[in-house]
Symmetry: C2
Subunit: 328 residues, 2 copies
């Protein structure tokens, strides 16, 4: 599937090319990992969202090839948000390469993100020939709705940075919008393209939502205890940046040694290992691991309820296990 | 029409509200001129794009009320681009008020712009009940296409800032994307909602395109010689910022005294009046005025070819005269 995804993505980015638009197109191609320094499979990322979407189409009895325009759309939407995230977080590197704004400046990078946002919506037009007008309208309206949810989750994430007194109740609305809704939309679109019935559609949506939540919790764990080789970020990096991740919010709620130290001011590089130790001692790591595992289990149960086609269903189960439950 | 436009805009922004999302919604409401310091008619802007769209629906024989979701969409799209423009241009004020990023920081403002972009697309859903599925699909695909063109024009505008040796051939592709395509889309959507025939649709599109170009040229003139009261910017401001406007590009091509001075380095506040004088002496002002007048005339001719309904047609002609040909 992956070569077909890259091909669909390239076609979806093509409308940005045109007389005098070489630089804009090159910026998008660089961000997507195709050109420039460090281009290649490591730079493209894993294309998890389009893979999930296409596997869901197969699982629901459809032809995954017909879902390629939607697969390209969700990956472009994800990457639009990454381009803007990197500016918002002041991140100069992603996947071992310089970020778009670090090369071209903030102004052009904001605009390139906007172009990718527009291209995501344009890509959906490719579904028109494979769906009835009604189904096409139903499917394509998912993209702007999901985009809005992304920005709502992102707003909370940004607002939390300087907000004291947060607890775990604040965590779920944020990751729901920031991560889970796009993953759910992938499963939903995949099922819609396969013309799944209402019951299966609901099951696939629940699968996507739970998987998205598990994925974010898992990502929180990786951001603290992940392997540098694997994550491309230094160990403990999310502790240094003060991110309100699930392990941190859990431990803060325990009001123990970790909370006392954390509330005393920002974590310094020399003490970050000690903070990680306190966080673990106060149960933050175990709690988050349990949550990721529980959510992944719920995702796999929901998938089972949809009675997926065998091969694609196994691949989806495997993907879910990998995204949500893998040992850190 | 204007109260109905405000009502439609408020409804279109509503999906951004929700538990924990008060600040994001407030940011959008502030930018649209409804709340916060300086809120009121001066802060909302003139709502030119929705007015143009609704008048076109009436002119083409439709009921303008049915076009309100599209009218809200084009205004949201325009305002999304303003939010991001202000960040890109480092502008701290717009219409006499602080810009969104100047209050909430760049990160949240980028995200609020993205939310407004998503809301523009969501607003289009409101046309579904007034159009056939086929016409609805045809109309709603205009929004992402126009968004892409906006980013293409904006990219050129940003790239031109530090690009020497530009001439008038470089001007038109930039303003075509940055301004004319959205104005054309307004006329096009207005006509599509009225189910105009192919010939009239083409005429309204040409009207919008020419009007958009005239509007940008006129705006270039205002940016240099405009009345401070009217523009909210200081006189000569676009000369100080080094903007590659049509008067400047024309005068540079004449290779006279203005070009010699301009190519010598950036314009200092003490010499800006002299630069404006040289620019006028080398014909930049007259050339741009002639172009704005010519394009406005072509717009009005195209409108005539569409044989618009009488009252709405007169209002569109008046709007065109005001936007493109008014004396600076």
């Amino acid at each position: 599937m992956l070569p077909a995804v890259e091909e669909a993505l390239k076609a979806a980015v093509q409308p940005a090319a045109g007389a005098g638009q070489q630089e804009l197109h090159d910026m998008l191609a660089y961000h997507l990992g195709w050109v420039g320094e460090g281009a290649g499979p490591k730079a493209t990322g894993k294309r998890i969202r389009p893979t999930l979407l296409l596997l869901t189409t197969s699982a629901a009895g459809g032809d995954w090839k017909t879902a390629l325009p939607a697969a390209a759309a969700v990956e472009l939407l994800h990457n639009f948000s990454l381009i803007h995230d990197d500016i918002q977080d002041n991140s100069e590197h992603r996947r071992g390469r310089k970020t778009l704004w670090a090369i071209h400046g903030v102004a052009k990078a904001i605009n390139a993100g906007d172009a990718m946002f527009a291209l995501a919506h344009i890509s959906m037009e490719g579904l028109e020939s494979v769906l009835t007008p009604k189904a096409f309208i139903q499917t394509s309206r998912l993209l702007p709705r999901t985009s809005l949810q992304l920005t709502q989750g992102q707003h909370l994430d940004l607002a939390y940075e300087n907000q004291p007194g947060l607890n775990m109740d604040d965590y779920w609305p944020m990751v729901w919008g920031k991560t889970a809704m796009l993953i759910r939309a992938c499963a939903q679109m995949g099922a819609l393209v396969a013309r799944a019935g209402e019951r299966d559609l609901r099951a696939y949506m629940l699968f996507g939502e739970k998987l998205g939540l598990a994925y974010q919790v898992h990502d929180d764990l990786l951001g603290i205890w992940g392997d540098e080789e694997q994550t491309g970020k230094s160990i403990y990096s999310d502790l240094l940046s003060g991110k309100k991740s699930l392990p941190v919010l859990y431990a803060l709620q325990q009001n123990g040694e970790f909370a006392k130290r954390w509330n005393n001011g920002s974590v310094q590089p020399g003490e970050v290992a000690e903070f990680a130790h306190l966080l673990e001692a106060d149960g933050g790591r175990e709690y988050a691991s349990d949550q990721a595992s529980k959510l992944t289990g719920e995702a796999i149960d929901a998938l089972g309820a949809a009675e997926p086609e065998k091969t694609a269903g196994s691949a989806l189960t495997e993907l879910a296990e990998e995204l949500g439950r893998r040992e850190v």
